[in-house]
């Protein structure tokens, strides 16, 4: 049940110049989180402590339980067991404190797509309790920075994937949350939009906020994150500063394959008929 290598907190990693993460309070604490869908156990008891002020990657193969975990952490899915604390407040018993502190961009859920990009931001800001004028001011700036000003009056239903992710990110940032949870924010996004999203997120974490995002693109995680948690089959296989998790492996990709037990798998000889030199 409990995982073999749960390295919570994080010893001082590669970045000595940064203030030591271990001395900070945790942005998110997850204790014994379980979720089962019928026969299938999606999340099998997770304990995690995510340090504040860092760029945190939750990596794992498809079906590892990343989306389920993020949904439970953000209050969108009720766990069967376990506790989640954001900035010290329980997500399920103290939603007032938690919901104003977090921003969410889930994967696979819709937006209010029959609103234009600007209308969507205006709507979300007012739902969050921001004054109208302040909402509109922030919306204008976010639309500008995310390169959406030109299509702000188009309906979201007509947006491309990259534009949807960007408007979703804007909606998640509007109320200036302390912790931002993004589920596969770069999935299906073109390189230009990805760079824009990246720039905004880097600026946001530099100010002391925390970003938690899930991905299965290791290169991306390696280049963006300070801290990673590796998930497979509903469990955490390793967690800690990037350098610690990578260890001696040449890349995070290699370390990851080893951790999830896919390192030795090879296409091997089973496809020996495939290729130019083989017999037809």
């Amino acid at each position: 049940m409990p995982d073999q290598a749960v390295a919570t907190g994080g010893a001082d990693g590669r970045d000595g110049a940064r203030s030591a993460p271990s001395t900070r309070r945790a942005a998110v604490r997850v204790e014994g989180l379980w979720k089962r869908f019928g026969e299938q156990v999606a999340v099998a008891g997770i304990d995690l402590e995510l340090p504040a002020g860092q760029f945190i990657g939750l990596v794992g193969p498809n079906g590892a339980g990343k989306t389920t975990t993020l949904s439970m952490v953000t209050g969108l899915l009720r766990p069967d067991m376990g506790r989640v604390l954001v900035a010290g407040h329980d997500v399920w018993s103290d939603p007032v404190e938690v919901k104003s502190r977090i921003g969410v961009l889930p994967e696979g859920l819709r937006l209010f797509e029959r609103l234009s990009g600007r209308e969507l931001l205006g709507y979300m800001g007012r739902l969050r309790g921001l004054p109208g004028e302040e909402t509109d001011k922030r919306a204008t700036q976010l639309l500008d920075v995310l390169d959406l000003a030109g299509s702000q009056h188009k309906l979201v239903v007509d947006y491309s994937t990259g534009m949807r992710k960007k408007i979703g990110l804007a909606a998640a940032l509007l109320h200036n949350p302390e912790v931002l949870f993004l589920d596969e924010p770069f999935e299906g996004v073109d390189p230009v939009s990805a760079q824009t999203i990246r720039g905004v997120l880097e600026r946001y974490t530099a100010s002391g906020a925390t970003v938690v995002f899930s991905s299965h693109v290791m290169e991306l995680v390696e280049s963006l994150c300070d801290w990673v948690a590796v998930m497979a089959a509903g469990r955490i296989r390793a967690a800690g500063p990037l350098a610690d998790v990578r260890g001696d492996a040449p890349s995070l990709q290699a370390a990851f394959l080893e951790l999830v037990g896919a390192g030795g798998r090879d296409a091997g000889d089973s496809l020996d008929w495939l290729g130019g030199q083989a017999a037809r």
Binding site: T74, G75, L76, L77, R78, P95, V96, V98, K99, S100, V104, P106, G108, L109, R110, L111, F112, E113, R114, L115, S116, R118, E119, G122, Y123, M124, R126, L127, R128, G129, P131, G132, D136, G150, S151, Q152, H153, K154, L155, V157, D158, S160, A171
Partner: protein
């Protein structure tokens, strides 16, 4: 027709012939075979689909044969001409609008699939027309056309005209459908086209009501003779003019028949020419998706908070009302439900009043129809409900959310009910009952808001966004029906004190006191709605994840 046909795209028939030098192969049999294979392959593998196809084939054939026989029986009837001419016009109308509401029914209909093939427009149009004649729809039309001409053909001239008229009518209908579809293919393949398809449910719902009242009225008001003026015009409108021609020829009016034949043939030729032109232009211009991406940003809408929206309250209440009302206009499913409710709400009291069977109290029907829109509020959000869920932390937030949605509904329904009751009052000349009727309507509306809020919290279910007739995700139909029917019964119970008071005042002949039902009904409705929202709100706040799961299916 020019013989400049395309090089053969199907080299399979003529082995080893150089494609460029191949003689002009007749495309028509190729396309007819293609259509037959598409139908056959569409049925492969799925026994359910096969069953559905053959059931619909058998049903339409049975209906077509019955209709054909029914029409044939009309032979010799004085009104036979009127009936068949109008029937042909309705048939043509159906064919014209069918492709707009049921796109993607025919794969050979989509010219973008043919764009890479070296085909010239004229043989292509011929081939497409021929392949369009294969299918259940054309067979059905053929049966009706045969029945129609049998009903009116008399004498040698009539029979000769009938032999010409049947193919002209069927070809005219099919050509109409294809040219309308081709001219609108850019629309049909876009998001707007899919929206339009969803609205077809609305057309059918409202159309059925109108047809019902129209037929009742027709049979009450002296029957078919009333339709003759319309028929005099329609018999000159192609392709119904083909049937008109048979009638004219049978009555010996050969000049008129010739004129009608000329009009029919000319219209068919024009239609084919138009189809060929739009097909050609379609094949050499980029499709809608590219244009949308390359074009400048869409229309400028007024920014939030300006104009009439400025009158809405600030904060969550105003924002939610604004979003709800925008969805009524922009979301095809929501729009379809609202317009159906608004239209049926008018049709029932007004048409009943026009027929002399009206009552002021039928105006309550509109309030009830619109009240149903309060049901499954969160299902209407689809999985976008997570955005709402993220902002609800307390029962107070949930109450404000539900209250704003109820306000948005009331903002339309209350004035609508007042106007509708007034119009019905005008039509039935019954002003003494007016305050009571309005009071009952408002009490009913309040009760519907109350039970709607409770059902939204207790029985949320997904509304699939595609398809005009799929309003519940698979497996949730029981939940939906339980919510709506249980809710409607409960609404009737909740406003029963107001109804009982009205009945009491009327039965005991205290007409002068019925005005009291108006303020009482309004107050009762307001109280019921408030209580419902109050009770529903804590449950919504408590079960946000469960509601999200329920509305995210399908």
């Amino acid at each position: 027709m020019s013989a400049a046909s395309a090089p053969a795209p199907t080299a399979g028939r003529a082995p080893a012939a150089a494609p460029a030098a191949a003689p002009a192969v007749n495309l028509t049999p190729v396309f007819v075979r293609l259509k037959l294979s598409l139908i056959r392959n569409g049925l492969k593998g799925s026994s359910k689909r096969k069953a559905a196809y053959f059931t619909s084939l058998a049903l339409s054939l049975a209906v077509a044969c019955l209709a054909m026989l029914g029409l044939a029986v009309l032979h010799g009837n004085a009104h036979a001409g009127t009936v068949v001419v109008l029937l042909a016009a309705i048939l043509a109308l159906g064919w014209t609008f069918m492709p707009l509401f049921f796109p993607s029914g025919d794969e050979t209909l989509d010219p973008s699939r043919l764009v890479m093939l070296p085909l010239r427009p004229r043989p292509l149009v011929r081939a497409l027309l021929a392949s369009s004649l294969v299918g259940i729809g054309p067979l059905f039309t053929l049966c009706l056309a045969v029945g129609s001409v049998v009903a009116v053909a008399r004498g040698a001239a009539g029979i000769a005209a009938a032999v010409v008229a049947v193919p002209l009518l069927v070809l005219g209908c099919v050509a109409l459908a294809r040219s309308v579809a081709t001219a609108n293919v850019r629309l049909l393949s876009s998001r707007k086209g899919r929206d339009l398809a969803v609205l077809s449910g609305l057309v059918i719902a409202v159309g059925a009501q109108l047809a019902n009242f129209a037929s009742q009225r027709l049979f009450q008001a002296g029957g078919l003779a009333r339709l003759e003026p319309a028929e005099a015009v329609v018999r000159w409108l192609p392709p119904a003019s083909a049937v008109g021609m048979v009638d004219s020829a049978s009555e010996g009016a050969y000049g008129v028949a010739a004129g009608q034949l000329a009009v029919t043939v000319l219209a068919l030729a024009l239609l084919l020419w138009f189809w060929e032109r739009s097909l050609t232009s379609l094949m050499v211009t980029p499709d809608g998706s590219t244009i949308a991406a390359a074009g400048p940003a869409g229309k400028r809408e007024s920014a939030g908070g300006t104009g009439a929206w400025g009158f809405l309250p600030a904060g969550r209440t105003g924002a939610v009302m604004q979003r709800t009302l925008r969805y009524v206009v922009r979301d095809p499913k929501t729009k379809s439900a609202w317009v159906t409710a608004l239209a049926v709400g008018v049709i029932v009291p007004v048409f009943n009043a026009l027929q002399g069977t009206g009552s002021l109290y039928l105006a309550c029907f509109g309030a009830g129809m619109l009240g149903i829109q309060m049901y499954n509020q969160f299902g209407q959000d689809t999985s976008a409900f997570w955005m709402v869920a993220q902002t609800i932390s307390t029962p107070r937030d949930a109450f404000e959310e539900l209250r704003a949605r109820a306000y948005a509904l009331a903002l339309v329904t209350v004035p609508y009910t007042v106007v509708l009751t007034t119009v019905t009052g005008l039509l039935v000349h019954d002003w003494s009952g007016y305050p009571a009727a309005l009071g009952v309507a408002l009490a009913l509306l309040g009760s519907m808001l109350c039970t709607g809020a409770l059902a939204s919290a207790r029985f949320p279910y997904s509304i699939p966004t595609d398809g005009a007739f799929k309003n519940v995700a698979p497996g949730q139909a029981g939940l939906a029906w339980a919510g709506i029917f249980g809710g409607m019964l409960a609404s009737a119970l909740i406003c029963s004190p107001v109804i009982a008071l009205t009945i009491f005042l009327n039965v005991t002949d205290q007409q002068s006191l019925t005005w009291i039902v108006l303020p009482l009904g309004a107050a009762w409705g307001t109280f019921a709605a408030w209580a419902g929202l109050r009770i529903a709100a804590p449950r919504v706040a408590r079960t946000l994840p469960e509601i999200l799961v329920a509305v995210s299916k399908g």
